[in-house]
């Protein structure tokens, strides 16, 4: 689903993601300059993460579905392009993104954690625009609902057409923008101290995602394990991991000060 520009059809999701990247680049530029850091290094780090994420997500997708690949047709450009545009696996993107951070530190000798702790609000900003793209395209849709703000799709390829649905995508977009605002305020207020902005982001987003998953209606397309969706399990693990790490760090600090 998209809109026409001349003879080109621009997909909503790609358009909104690019808007999000542009908005995040502006916010990142302001934050990096405020903290007197190199914007070029920030772009290098962001590029490495994007590169690692893109490759990792695709490699894991191809790895889990290699049995379905007909290698005798791999030279057929249409067949190859269908596999290349076939899908992504989130965990692969996560592992690839982390590998990108490591490579950035190793190859370019950039203090990645310093930049990440300042530039972290860029992630919820891109995510918020991505969710707006979901809302426009009709994916990741909500449960049937007739209250205020309900969305009724008429020509979506993914969401059920003609049924009023809860605007879960826009709700998540607003929550992401609020998280970005909270992170910016936190970073600004702790500008002369050690910042836990990465942990704060994880501990803010995980509960939001956990709750909003209950309002999603695309369960058939995503999978449920023990009454909870995959994303809810990830949210629990992420929140527990971040909280444990925070407690351990705090205890170490107290022990050191004694």
């Amino acid at each position: 689903m998209g809109f026409q520009v001349g003879s080109f059809t621009i997909p909503y999701y790609g358009f909104f993601i690019m808007l999000g990247v542009a908005a995040a680049a502006v916010v990142g530029w302001i934050l990096i300059h405020f903290f007197h850091k190199e914007y070029d290094d920030f772009i290098t780090l962001a590029g490495c993460v994007a590169l690692g994420g893109l490759i990792g997500a695709k490699i894991l997708y191809l790895a889990v579905s290699w049995k379905k690949i007909d290698f005798s047709r791999i030279t057929d450009t249409e067949y190859l392009s269908a596999w290349l545009s076939g899908g992504f696996v989130f965990y692969g993107g996560l592992i690839g993104g982390l590998a990108g951070v490591f490579l950035c530190w190793k190859i370019f000798h950039i203090q990645v954690m310093e930049y990440a702790s300042v530039g972290i609000p860029c992630i919820p900003i891109v995510h918020a625009f991505g969710r707006m793209g979901c809302s426009a395209a009709g994916c990741c849709y909500g449960i049937p609902y007739t209250g205020a703000g309900a969305i009724t799709y008429t020509e979506s390829l993914i969401a059920p057409n003609g049924t009023p649905l809860f605007p879960v995508q826009m709700t998540e977009a607003v929550c992401n923008l609020i998280i970005a605002a909270v992170l910016i305020i936190y970073i600004y207020r702790n500008r002369n101290k050690v910042r836990n902005s990465l942990l704060l982001y994880l501990m803010l987003y995980a509960p939001v995602r956990f709750v909003l998953e209950h309002f999603r209606y695309d369960d058939k397309e995503r999978g449920i394990i023990l009454e909870l969706s995959t994303s809810q399990w990830i949210s629990i693990l992420v929140f527990a991991g971040a909280f444990l790490y925070y407690i351990i760090r705090k205890r170490k600090k107290i022990t050191k000060s004694l």
Binding site: P11, G14, I17, T44, S65, G133, I158, E221, R222, T230
Partner: protein, 82 residues
């Protein structure tokens, strides 16, 4: 690095305009071009070429990925069930 960035930027633009189905490859090439362009700008002698490479790579990446990027969570979920 500056020359490599410019070459990769031009390749990603060509892929984005003429071979939209291979947007992933074009996007990867474009992002590598962006990284090389940014690093190339640190050499004052090649700053101009590196900036040109950086700009071309950004345009190429946007052209490739705007058509290609889909909701990763959804597509990943559908793929897992397929």
């Amino acid at each position: 690095m500056a020359v490599a960035s410019l070459v990769l930027g031009i390749i990603s633009i060509v892929i984005g305009v003429f071979f939209g189905n291979f947007g992933l490859i074009g996007g990867v090439i474009g992002i590598v071009g962006i990284i090389l362009g940014v690093q190339g700008k640190k050499d004052p002698a090649k700053k101009g070429m590196a900036t040109a490479g950086f700009v071309c790579s950004i345009i190429g990446t946007v052209l490739c990925l705007i058509m290609y990027v889909a909701c990763i969570a959804c597509v990943g979920g559908i793929a897992a069930l397929a």
